[in-house]
């Protein structure tokens, strides 16, 4: 029988073995005592001498027992059992410590994961840090991050020597269909070099070539992995298949990898962008532009060169380019623009929060060891080795770390899932958020390190204290000096909470303000959906006009529909085209002083459907929605206010530079302003066309219902299928959702900051609780004496609360000054509220102090309930 099995059998007959050891030692004592008697000692003296000779019987037993099993496995198990029992007996302490760790680790891991994905991790493209978006801007009109004109792009590309490559693209929607079904998909039209700039290879087939981007070449498309799977069942012979897309038969030349995405993970089709310097590519600025910096060229260097080129362009082509500038923006920054400041704030705070959580745990452990110092001394005097005591204490803190760490990791997982779910869709669609196991590994190490470090210091201090001293008085001298440090910690926690809460409250109030802005429409009970007619089937404008007229008429007669109409560019849903307007009877404007307006085209009844008031004149009627009638326009109130303040608007003729020929037409009505892209920007002057005069084939149908608008989606789908069976509808949303989406990024930032500051406030509360609990156990004797000589409970509570005053008040003061200094960072995210909003700066300190008071009250109440006799006797 090997040693291993012998030990195993002893482990099983543990109880018997224990009894035998007892007998064996008892026998030894008897023999020894008899020996002494033989040497001439009295019986009693002999027994005492024998016991003295045997020494510390507990220690003898313990070290003998240690030989029964493997190394220290036995003791570890015992330590863990003991520690668990200890934690169960002190649920307040255990919960506070575990909660601190879980909350601290969980929040910081979650924030770090999100920030890491959105801000730090390289985008999944070759040398992604060299990729920049190039924008055209008109600073004087506060028009930033705007699209690029094709003719400027060609000049930039020829003249610059800071970029390795430059590519333009445009995104759109079009219908993919076979004879059985059809689906509207997001597509990107791009120059051939965009895919090579991103360094992506199709998993089947090839990329398209420069030649295929020339007008007139055979139409080809690349499809996404998703479409390959869902439409073609992953057919490996897909390359060369011809499909209907956007109303034309196109050849599939390749399938893109499953994990590939560029700016929008919803894009399913890539096709060549047909523009060339030789042809007319449209007057406007409508392209997106990506460039790759040459190695060794900095962004500021490239920016300087591009600014110089833009200045030259303004001189060469003043009609088009006066006052226009060019801005470079890192691709990643372009994707996270609105959430970047709040994420950076949070990332900075993550380290602090984690430190706070660790400080809490340390302070709780310290308080606990102080309370247990006598117990430890007793254990030592009963023969527990010093190492044993230290190990016992360490086991407890490691156990806490393990539980807290596990909970924290779980919390982080949920938090990341929740954040991704709640994040604005365009954000999660443009960047993949993945959880990195390395981060969790790091967290596990961190939790272990924290507990060992903070567990070891008091453990060593606790075990070092002199036995006799600890038994006689409560040996606080060795560790009491640290209470100042702990008060500092608590103060810092309070300050941090004040800063974070102020930021969060400002964002909440700003968001609330946004939600109460009048958008200019009545969004309740309005359903919107998009219909994109394929240009190949609807070649003549009259077909498109007829389709929408009939659709609106039939939808209008559905049950539950109060009004229905359509608009080319739904407000609050991205950009609408803008162009110059000429007023009849005025001299032509000088370059840079033209009259500009946003252009929307509507069907009759749009204003009534959306609840936009008609302020003057009349709405379009069915008689206006006919191709060969004279041009007529409706303008917005902002247009009148800005350009026609002196004249009667209904007398005015205008010409809008929208197409090749733009005859003057009468203004027949003035309607109320509608906020344009977002609620926090002033409305822009707008000109409305009747659909027949600007017959877009992609229109958003708007329907006002008497009941739940979403219940109308299916009846409407059936109406459209009856008119054209191959025609899908897309983007079915209520108008409320459309508006809410415009501030989803603010919403997200607010949510992040609010939950984070909530976590920090909780931690601060635990911190305050920790120091006071410590101070109560440290002062038990003193408090007992006070109670004994007649201090009232109220007086005791006051005494304890006073100990919290300095850290809490100090923390609040520092926090307020910190917040006043830092909330400026949020300036760009605030709407209609000052970063120094007085209400916020009154409410937050009051809230923090209240929470701190509640946290402080618990140990204070415990102190007030001390039984003096028990306390004094215990000493």
């Amino acid at each position: 029988m090997s040693a291993f099995f012998r030990k195993l059998s002893w482990l099983i007959q543990r109880r018997r073995r224990e009894a035998e050891l007892q007998d064996e030692l008892q026998f030894h004592l008897g023999e020894e005592s008899e020996d002494r008697e033989e040497q001439g000692l009295a019986k009693e003296q002999a027994q005492r001498a024998a016991i003295r000779e045997l020494g510390n019987i507990t220690l003898v037993k313990e070290s003998t027992r240690a030989t029964w099993t493997w190394a220290c496995a036995e003791q570890v198990a015992q330590d863990v059992r003991y520690a668990l029992r200890g934690l169960r007996k002190n649920p307040g302490f255990a919960l506070a410590a575990i909660f601190s760790l879980a909350l601290g680790l969980g929040t910081s891991l979650a924030i770090y994961t999100v920030a890491d994905n959105l801000l730090l991790r390289p985008l999944p493209y070759a040398h992604s840090s060299e990729l920049v978006m190039v924008w055209e801007e008109h600073p004087r009109r506060n028009f930033l991050h705007g699209n690029v004109a094709p003719r400027n792009y060609f000049v930039w590309k020829a003249r610059n020597d800071v970029f390795q490559d430059m590519a333009v693209f445009d995104t759109s929607h079009a219908v993919l269909g076979d004879n059985r079904r059809s689906e509207e998909l997001s597509e990107i039209e791009a120059r051939a070099n965009l895919l090579s700039m991103l360094g992506v290879q199709p998993i089947f087939g090839r990329r398209f070539t420069e030649a295929e981007c020339r007008p007139g070449s055979d139409p080809v498309i690349l499809i996404s992995f998703r479409v390959w799977q869902s439409w073609f069942g992953g057919d490996r012979n897909i390359v060369g298949r011809r499909v209907q897309f956007g109303g034309r038969l196109r050849t599939i030349i390749g399938v893109l990898p499953a994990n590939f995405y560029f700016r929008d993970r919803g894009i399913d089709i890539w096709q060549p962008l047909n523009i060339s310097p030789a042809q007319n590519n449209g007057e406007g600025r409508w392209l997106l532009c990506l460039a790759r910096l040459k190695p060794g060229v900095s962004r500021s260097g490239a920016q300087a060169e591009m600014s110089a080129i833009a200045r030259q362009r303004a001189l060469d082509d003043p009609d088009f380019n006066k006052d226009w500038t060019v801005t470079l923006e890192l691709l990643r920054d372009a994707l996270v623009r609105e959430v970047k400041p709040s994420l950076l704030v949070l990332l900075g705070a993550v380290g602090l929060l984690l430190a706070v959580a660790c400080a809490n745990v340390a302070s709780l452990l310290l308080a606990r060891y102080t309370a247990r110092q006598r117990e430890m001394a007793v254990r030592a005097s009963l023969g527990a080795g010093r190492l044993r005591v230290v190990r016992q204490l360490l086991t407890e803190s490691i156990l806490l770390a393990a539980i807290g760490g596990a909970l924290g990791t779980l919390l982080a997982r949920w938090a990341v899932m929740a954040l991704v779910f709640l994040a604005p869709k365009d954000l999660t669609q443009s960047i993949d958020v993945v959880t990195d196991t390395r981060i969790y590994l790091f967290a596990a190490c961190l939790a272990a390190l924290t507990s060992i470090l903070f567990g070891l210091a008091p453990a060593l201090a606790g075990s070092r204290c002199e036995l006799v001293q600890a038994l006689q008085i409560d040996g606080r001298s060795s560790i009491g000096a640290k209470s100042h440090l702990r008060a500092w910690f608590a103060g810092a926690e309070i300050a941090l909470s004040v800063i974070l809460l102020s930021g969060a409250l400002l964002l909440i109030r700003s968001l609330e303000g946004l939600q109460h802005v009048n958008p200019g429409i009545n969004a309740a009970n309005v359903l919107t959906l998009r219909v994109s007619l394929p240009g190949a089937q609807y070649t003549k404008p009259s077909q498109t006009i007829q389709f929408f007229q009939r659709t609106i008429r039939e939808i209008g007669s559905l049950q539950g529909v109060r009004a229905a109409s359509a608009i080319s560019h739904l407000p609050f849903n991205g950009m609408a085209p803008g162009t110059y307007v000429v007023l009849a009877g005025r001299p032509p404007a000088k370059p840079g002083e033209e009259i500009g307006a946003t252009i929307r085209t509507v069907l009759p009844g749009y204003f009534q459907t959306m609840g936009i008031p008609l302020l003057n004149g009349r709405d379009f009627t069915a008689a206006d929605d006919v191709e060969n009638t004279p041009h007529r326009f409706i303008v917005s109130q902002a247009f009148v206010r800005k350009y026609l303040s002196k004249a009667n608007p209904l007398d005015q003729q205008i010409s809008v530079w929208m197409e090749e020929k733009n005859p003057f037409g009468q203004i027949i009505g003035v309607v109320g302003d509608v906020k344009d892209q977002t609620l926090d920007q002033p409305p822009t002057p707008t000109v409305y066309y009747p659909h027949a005069h600007l017959a877009y084939n992609r229109m958003v149908i708007v329907v006002r219902s008497s009941g739940d608008p979403l219940a109308l989606a299916n009846p409407i789908r059936r109406v459209i299928r009856r008119i054209d069976p191959a025609q899908p509808i897309a983007d079915v949303r209520t108008m409320d959702e459309v508006i809410a989406d415009t501030f989803s990024r603010q919403h997200f930032s607010t949510l992040l900051l609010a939950s984070f500051s909530g976590a920090s406030l909780l931690l601060a509360a635990i911190g305050v609780y920790g120091i006071l609990a410590y101070s109560v156990s440290e002062r038990t004797r003193e408090l007992g004496v006070r109670v004994a000589i007649g201090a009232t409970p109220g007086r005791i509570i006051f005494l304890i609360l006073r100990a919290a005053t300095i850290p809490v008040v100090g923390g609040v003061v520092i926090g307020i000054s910190g917040a006043l200094a830092l909330t400026g960072l949020l300036h760009s995210m605030l709407f209609d509220i000052s970063p120094r909003d007085p209400l916020t700066f009154v409410f937050v300190p009051v809230m923090v102090v209240t929470v701190a008071l509640i946290a402080a009250y618990l140990p204070a109440r415990r102190a007030a309930r001390l039984e003096p006799m028990i306390v004094l006797r215990a000493e």
Partner: protein, 117 residues
């Protein structure tokens, strides 16, 4: 060299083991007798602490070098008797030759000085 000094010296690692094995060579006996025997035969120079004796006995038992059984002592009390196993006998030979070689080496280095003194 005073007895006091020696009694406070810890046994070198493994020393006690070989002493116990050697003691049990004479026949099975209990822990107390092992300690007394070592003390007596070393002319009271070696004092076996109880706190080391029993862990050592149990350790040797775990290794299988000695075996234990409950028997009646010569005074008629139940006692745990240890006896040398075959494995223990072999181990004793190994340990003994190791110690003899060690003590001879120590003697060779130390004896000239000793003799002069």
């Amino acid at each position: 060299m005073s007895r006091n000094l020696l009694s406070r010296l810890d046994f070198l690692q493994g020393t006690l083991d070989v002493l116990i094995l050697r003691t049990l060579l004479a026949g099975p006996t209990h822990g107390h007798a092992v300690a007394k025997h070592i003390q007596r035969t070393s002319e009271d120079l070696l004092q076996v602490e109880t706190g080391s004796l029993y862990p050592a006995l149990h350790r040797l038992e775990a290794k299988g070098w000695i075996a234990a059984a409950w028997e009646l002592s010569d005074k008629g009390k139940r006692a745990k008797y240890y006896r040398l196993t075959r494995l223990g006998r072999k181990q004793l030979v190994i340990e003994q030759s190791k110690w003899q070689a060690f003590s001879r080496a120590m003697g060779l280095v130390l004896s000239p000085v000793d003799q002069e003194a």
